[in-house]
């Protein structure tokens, strides 16, 4: 920075503003886009004689602006002019102008390569501040990047672009694709084999067809054999799997004892007796007692109506008692203590043809909905 030849951008700008008359007091960090100097420096670094430097491009573009479209490449220049035109204010120099002017003053026009390191450093310094959008400045809607891109023959889109992008745009600009109108191509004439022919007269044609079909089929198969084998085996596997699952739903066992079973003759039951011998296998108490004053034999399901535990018959206290929450039921199955909300449930019972009692577990009878009056729920004695 201390180098006299290399002035920082701030210094250059300050100098330029002094020349400009100080009419445009714009903060430096806002007017200098951080990205601009970098591509500029890169573009300028090779500095081949045939190529324009950034500053030259800028200057040329702006000259083109002022001169109403006089530039070396007419098409991009005119777009640049268009985009820049509305922002042009009389009397206000843009930053790029200032830069160009300052550089011209300082090192006599050949300083294109020199300011590069300077601008790099300055950009790095000003980077955080420059994040604030450059477009927000009142005097510089025409940012350097858009000018550059326009000069390089890019599209109308302003903003910083990479070198590769710029190159691609420059390339595309020459051979812009013309949009063709979509038109349907004319139908091709029907080929001979597709035309209706008279009925086949010879069997050779049929044989030919067979041969052709086999060939097509085999060809297709062998052409795509890997896929075909893979998918075929997958399909077969899935099918077997589904069938196996279906089979799984019907296991080869008897899940329950038969729902209908004989429990002996009615006279085997003494009045007031509760038979507990069927509980272990069938989950049933067969009792001979009375309900609503009527003597009858009935079968009670040994499942508590509270939460489904198995109560015990307590002979000493003449009640069913559940060990889980203490629900109690009278001998007729009606609940009277603990939390059980309903009486025990009855199974269907009937006198079979051989005179034995037969319990049918597939039918249940609930007292609270009056089903115990159903003759199927008891056997009168």
């Amino acid at each position: 920075m201390a180098d006299k030849d290399e002035l920082s951008i701030e210094q250059i700008l300050a100098a330029a503003r002094q020349q400009d008359g100080g009419g445009d007091a714009v903060p430096v960090s806002e007017t200098v886009p951080a990205e601009t100097p970098k591509p500029a420096a890169k573009a300028a670094a090779p500095a081949k004689p045939g190529k324009m430097s950034v500053a030259e491009m800028l200057a040329a573009a702006r000259v083109g602006d002022a001169g109403g479209g006089a530039s070396e490449s007419p098409a991009p220049a005119s777009t640049a002019a268009k985009s820049a035109a509305p922002a042009k204010k009389p009397g206000a120099m843009s930053v790029a102008d200032m830069l160009a002017a300052a550089r011209g003053d300082k090192s006599g026009g050949a300083a294109a390569a020199k300011p590069a390191p300077v601008s790099k450093k300055a950009a790095a310094k000003a980077a955080p501040a420059a994040k604030e959008p450059a477009a927000a400045t009142p005097s510089g809607p025409k940012d350097t990047a858009s000018i550059l891109s326009a000069a390089r023959g890019g599209a109308a889109k302003p903003g910083p672009i990479t070198k590769a992008e710029a190159a691609a745009r420059a390339k595309d600009a020459g051979v812009a694709p013309v949009k063709k109108k979509a038109t349907a191509p004319p139908m091709p004439a029907k080929p001979d084999y597709a035309k209706t022919v008279a009925a086949p007269t010879a069997s050779t044609e049929r044989r030919g067809f067979l041969v052709a079909a086999t060939a097509i089929f085999a060809g297709t198969f062998f052409m795509t054999s890997a896929l075909a084998i893979g998918f075929s085996s997958l399909a077969v596997t899935m099918l077997l799997w589904v069938l196996g699952t279906a089979r799984f739903m019907f296991p080869n066992i008897l899940t329950e004892p038969p729902t209908k079973f004989k429990v002996g003759f009615p006279d085997e039951y003494a009045p007031g007796q509760v038979a507990t011998k069927f509980k272990a296998q069938f989950g049933v108490w067969v009792a001979r007692y009375e309900y609503n004053g009527q003597p009858e034999i009935y079968a009670l399901q040994s499942v508590c109506t509270h939460l489904g535990c198995t109560p015990n018959w307590l002979e000493g206290e003449q009640k069913f008692k559940c060990p889980c929450h203490g629900s109690g039921f009278y001998k007729d199955g009606v609940n009277f203590e603990g939390p059980a909300p309903r009486p025990l449930e009855r199974f269907a019972i009937r006198l079979a043809d051989d005179g034995q009692l037969e319990v049918d577990k597939s039918r249940k009878f609930k007292e609270e909905v009056g089903q115990w009056n159903d003759p199927a729920s008891y056997v009168s004695v």
């Binding site: 535990c309 008692k321 939390p339």
Partner: protein
Amino acid sequence: MHGHVSYEDFILQVAGFLTTYYLFIAAMNGLAAFYLWQSGRAKELFRLPGSGLAVTTVHVWLLVAGVFTILSAYATNGGAAALTLPQAVRDFADARMGPVVYTVGLLLLLSVLYLGRNFFVKPTVAWAGLNLSLLLMGISMTDMDFASIVMKPDNVPIVAMIYLLGFFTWLSASKAVQNDARTARGEVPLEKLDDEKVLVWPDLVYTELICMIALMAILFVWAILLQAPLEEPASTVKTPNPSKAPWYFLGLQEMLVYYDPWMAGVVLPGVVVGGLMAIPFIDFNKQGNGYYTINERKFAYCTFQFGFLVLWVTLIVMGTFLRGPNWNFFGFYETWDAHKVEALNNVDLSQYFWVDLLHTGRPKAADDAPMIVKIGYILLRESVGIMLLLFYFGGGPPAMVIYSKFFRKMFLRMGFVRYMVLSNLILLMALLPIKMLARWTVDMKYFVSIPEYFLNF
């Protein structure tokens, strides 16, 4: 369970345990005395007349340690049978003990502890209480029925947890009392004094490592000492008697005795979870953030401790130790007799109203009546209970505002919606003990009983 062991054999087994047990308590007291002596926290109680020698708490706990050492030796030498509660005391305790005495008594005890917390949290008092309870456990252990319940492999950890819970409740209450005293003097809470930050490594990780190793050691010892409580093979037609849930669900199982399954198993637990989730929206008291306090959060503290200690822990203890075969209630020293007859003739409210009060019989539709008529009759039958519940939940919140200055302030502070959520949660919470007491005292089964549609409340 214990019918096969003679009392003499049982005493021999217990004597071995009691020797270790009393020795452990003696060592505990000796360590406490040593700690007091070394830390210089011993308090002078009085001076011996004449010599002028100061008697401090160190001497007291050394004396206690000595007494327990003698007890230990005595228990070993066949004296265990003599170290017991008099039979008369045990019989009296069993006869008086019932669900009402147990729950109401515990509620009263906790209330006394709460009201006298400034006294009870003093280390000396708390330590004396711990010693007393351990001594009571020890001399109760010579009772066969007590021992068979407490020493069941299932229940040993629960006994340990009761003591653990007592310790943590004491710890928090003790800190809260100290902080409240400091606040009253205009000082900052203890936690604010010492808010120095520590490092995760090594401070936290090291502690966690030690805890992890200690826990592993405890699990090993536990697994070696206590046999797995296995039972007979499962059978669909035979339920063990008594059939108990895992210990942490015994509170729920006790609730199931008083409520319909869908109420006690689904609705009430759901309300508990929902209510806990609602606390941040209900609680507007910003005090007590980051330090222990009771005085600044009396309502929150009491509500939580009532819900946790009374409605949860108490019920777990009751379900574990006091519920025997057929889910009957048994005292601490009572034999678990599967044939104990308990008159539990539960009656629905509708029965009380229509049959006992009006002598008309419960309204009942004809069997062949259309469904709508049947439903109408059911509603008529249960109208008393339905109205009672509507009155409880509809009239409760406004009544609380009208008659309680505290809830009036809450209402003004919280606004309608939040207040209604709070008051209904409290009413629901209170309904559990109300229902339990109604069951125990007047054999109330269900306020609303519609078994036809599985609706019982």
